[in-house]
């Protein structure tokens, strides 16, 4: 085949064809990697972590309920302690009043108080 006999139209057609083929191959080469698998993997990891967090939140809710119960018990306990402390204060007050009370007693009053004490003690022992 004599290349000199090729007319200009044929040359241009050949150039266009070559351009078409080259652009086709370049287009194939430049395919973008969307890294979908990596993103999918990260989504799966996040879903797993969110699931774990949900379980922990449920667990903490249960613990909060337990704490609320304990707080109620502590409150009741404190109330009882306050009551007992006021009893202690009352007893201490009564104890401090004893000397004054006894000092003003007459002989009959002393005898009566001692009798009452002995009766109280005996009844306690018999019980």
């Amino acid at each position: 085949m004599d290349l000199k006999k090729l007319d200009i139209k044929t040359v241009f057609i050949i150039i266009l064809s070559l351009g078409l083929i080259i652009s086709f191959f370049l287009g194939q080469k430049n395919k973008i990697n969307y890294r979908k698998d990596e993103i999918k993997e990260l989504h799966a990891k996040n879903d797993k972590l969110l699931g774990k967090n949900d379980s922990l939140f449920i667990l903490n809710d249960k613990l909060e309920k337990k704490i609320a119960k304990i707080n109620l018990l502590i409150e009741a306990n404190n109330k009882e302690i306050t009551e007992k402390e006021s009893q202690i204060q009352l007893l201490k007050k009564r104890k401090n009043e004893i000397p004054n009370h006894v000092n003003v007693l007459s002989a009959n009053g002393v005898a009566s108080s001692l009798t009452k004490y002995i009766e109280r003690t005996k009844s306690t022992i018999s019980h």
Binding site: D7, L16, N30, I70, I81, I88, I98, V102, L114
Partner: protein, 144 residues
């Protein structure tokens, strides 16, 4: 017949004396102030006994309170550990989202680059599409 009351104690220095009365009963006798001292001690002892009982109850209540507080501390510790784990998990999620963001940014960058390349190719193709037929026509005319 009842015996006449008389002291059974030889020493008169003793503050408390025992005597046998006319009915034969042994009677302990002492001064009023001594009797008051004894009465004070007895009444105070009675109150002290009551105080001891109340203090025992308060002690057991305080022990109960301590047990409850220890339980509460343990639960709070567990809650704190869970919250720490939640925070760690959230930090991991943030890291994963950052990684995803980086990947997506990289993909967008590549897409932009590709888009620019495609635009250039498109332009070249367009120019070629116009220029080549025109050139062919011009050359054909000049040959004739």
């Amino acid at each position: 017949m009842a015996l006449p009351a008389r002291s059974q104690n030889i020493s008169k220095e003793q503050r408390v004396q025992s005597v046998i009365n006319e009915y034969g009963d042994t009677v302990i006798q002492m001064s009023l102030s001594d009797a008051k001292t004894i009465l004070k001690s007895l009444l105070e002892k009675e109150i002290n006994d009551s105080l001891l009982d109340v203090y025992t109850v308060v002690d057991s209540l305080n022990k109960n309170k301590i047990t409850l507080l220890v339980d509460k501390i343990e639960i709070l510790q567990n809650e704190k550990n869970n919250l720490t784990e939640i925070v760690n998990n959230l930090n991991s999620i943030i890291d994963n989202l950052k990684s995803e963001n980086e990947i997506l940014s990289d993909v967008i960058k590549k897409q932009k680059k590709e888009l620019r390349k495609q635009k250039i190719i498109k332009m070249i193709a367009l120019i070629g599409d116009v220029a080549l037929p025109v050139a062919t026509l011009l050359v054909g005319i000049s040959i004739k």
